[in-house]
Amino acid sequence: MNSNSGWFFLEPYVHISCKGKHVLLFNTLNGKVIEYMDDARVSRLIRKLVSSNNLLVLTITKDYLRSNPWFSQFLKKVRLHFMGDFIEASIKGKKPVQMMQMLNVVKDANKFKKDSIRSIGEYLKPYLSEVSIYINDFCEFTCPYCIDAFKQFSFCHRKTGINSELKIETIERLLEETRNTTLNKLNILGGNIYYYSHIDRLFMLLDKIPIKKTIHTNYLHLTGDRTLLKFFLRRGMNLNILITFPLQQEIFEKSVSYFERSGHNVTFSVILQNEADLKNVQALNSRYNMSRFIFHPYFNGRNLTFFKKRVFLKRRDVFDQKPALSDIFARMKINQLNFGKIIVQSNGDVFANLNSPKIGSLYQHSLYKILYNEIYHGKSWRRLRTNVKPCNHCVFCLLCPSLSNYEFVLKRNNLCHML
């Protein structure tokens, strides 16, 4: 590098994260990374770069270059990955600027909270994108994971001693209220949904709604006459079959095979608790088309080792996901996994996340009120890594996916090997 003075700058598509002496530069266009774990000189430089006076452009004098020989190497890396550059120029001229990342969400809930005239609820219904309805909670089986798998991912569950089912009129009213939302996914779960008193009427109702509808059924529930289900699958409904190990092989062969071969829109959600389950999946691989299988790690309280090996993120995992700039921005304001989703239990209680308190009841509140409660209090839809320790002190904070249900059940926010 020449020893002339000039302007050093970073590109607007580079995500910059600086915590203490730890600096991370992430190129959102190609996923390339420059990282300095413990370098006060680089962190000082970066902090100056992102100040509101500098807007990603720094004056670099000849003196600075002479007394900071490390800068040349740093610049070389930056240029190599097209993350920035150096313009030799007379620094007496006006310093250029770069469009520095500063997210502005016009209808941000926090802005409205401070405004005496505007309301946080003035843009609500368009946010609703997915509704999961537990139509009943009765099931004849007693699976060990029933107690809490549904709090980690979409899964059936039952409540002992209670046999509640959601009134069909309530479901009808809810679906009517979801008009003028951007609702595009509807999930139906139970208990054993085939015990629902109005299953026929429910299927007829769902058939009329022109959005993606998925019936989630434990494979154990597929043994009976499922003519109705098959009929509606032919009409475009989706089926997600929930599978756990150890398999009841005969039931599995009989029920699942039909759907697997049928050509209908069928997926298989498989719970994995340990390495043995993984081996079982490999056995399935030889017989079934695995492209339709979705795998859900399940935390049973005793398999932290499995989670650390198979679920916790390593550096490479985060970089390989290559989050776009829009993802990074989204993670500053919303929980990408939860936002826009509500879950209705069979007793009418509504949740934005089953690990958080309820946000209302269909038997007492309108949909407006329920959505307003969530957007105002922000426990799930706006549950952010930037607000929790230790993630808010980590350079990977916005590169990691939003907080999931696993952070709740494992009672820790950093499901990773970074900190």
Binding site: P12, V57, Q101, M102, N104, Y123, L124, Y368
Partner: protein, 504 residues
Amino acid sequence: MKRFIVFETQNNKYVFDVGMKRIMLCHPIFFSILKHENENGKQNYCNDKKRSSKTSDRRNKNKKNQEYYQRKYQFLTKAGYFSDFDSTERLSGTISAEGIKNTLANLNQVTFEVCDSCNLKCKYCGYGEFYSDYDKRENKHLSLITAQKLLKFLAEFWNSDRNISSEKNIMISFYGGEPLLNMPFVSELIKFVKLLNVKYKRFSFSMTTNGVLLDKYTDFLVENDFQLLISLDGDEESNGYRIFKNNQPAFKRVLKNTIALRDRYPEYFKKNVNFNAVFHNKNSVSRIYNFFKKTFGKIPHIAELNPYGVESSRINEFKKMYADIADGILDIDDYEKVEREMFLSLPSIKSIAVFLHKYTGFVYQNYNDLQFPQKRPRRTPTGTCFPFYKKLFLTVNGKILPCERISHSHSLGYINDKCVEIDFDRVASKYNRYYDDARQLCSKCYNVETCQKCIFNFDAGQPGFTCDQFMGYSQFAEYLSKHMDYIESHPKLYSKIMTEVAFE
């Protein structure tokens, strides 16, 4: 359309990606490569450009640099930069009747022309001697029954499932003429609004007034928590155009009333009262700023005279009266301080704010835009507001308009003795016809994103129709250069705008 625009400020070089609407600082060599491509349509800058270097070292260095920037160009291209942009497709959006009904259900503001009479005869008035595109002023009062009919009609939309909000505020605004001349109407309508059965909305009230009768109705306005906009052009000399019908100046009376309001209700004044100053040849930005700051501790909104719809026979006289705020700023003492305090009240700062909001890529309207970002969503041409997006305006004659700033000949509906008549399909067709006419010109304009042009203010479809805000390549490059130059001189303005300003 070119895929990108290269432009320079005094010292520095930038590129604007037309499709992505992004600006990036450029190294001079990269800039040359891009410029070469724009001019010649070729990327082989290395081969085309003949350089006479004195030493082979320098030649090698130049070659390496150019190869590097060629690679950078390819990298950016692969990432989606500099790609073809179909502006016709982008501007192919249309309006539907259903969309208009949805907007009514989520209205922000209803404005009533309470009367068309006024106790002043301001020279530049939009309903005065210079203009003719409004219904004749006949000293009429808006009928209370008509206004109530409208609100009942709207309440059906507000209570329907088209409503997307909970607890949304709707501003009920009173306009004129001079609304304080018809206070019985205002008072009765407020009572009606408070009893209106609307589930998910709340109401607040506002008024634009010349302040002449403020002393009579202060208590009422405060009691109902009115947001008040008082029209005042600055100090006494600046208010030279604001006169009574007997040609006497109105300034002292309005000032006295306003000071009395401030002294009697200081908290209300601080929170609820604002000023609108019209900029013309009798005042200046610094005089306006100094007057309002010293007298009231407030920063007024400053508006230029409306150049649209001026009678052709009065144009020369109008031009003498007209002043451009951009020119008015040049002679401000302590500009930095005034700029900081006036902020968006200054058109230059507002222009920078709009520029940054549209061309950084870091501004999103709502959380859905974050969750489901759309690369190049379709939109309608021009800067025309979606019908009723900002407000619904009811004239004293029962005409329904999308705002008070356009000619009354463009009514979108009306209220008669029997009912409220809005033919939504007809309204949509009307807008779409105008858009069809404007689309061909707009699709060649580089500045569509910050367009402020309303279709009702220019003659789209007429032979030889042009738009005074049209920007071709060079004009847009100049626009970009001017704005980036300003930000280079005021870098702190960038973060102030990006954190504090929200345009919807």
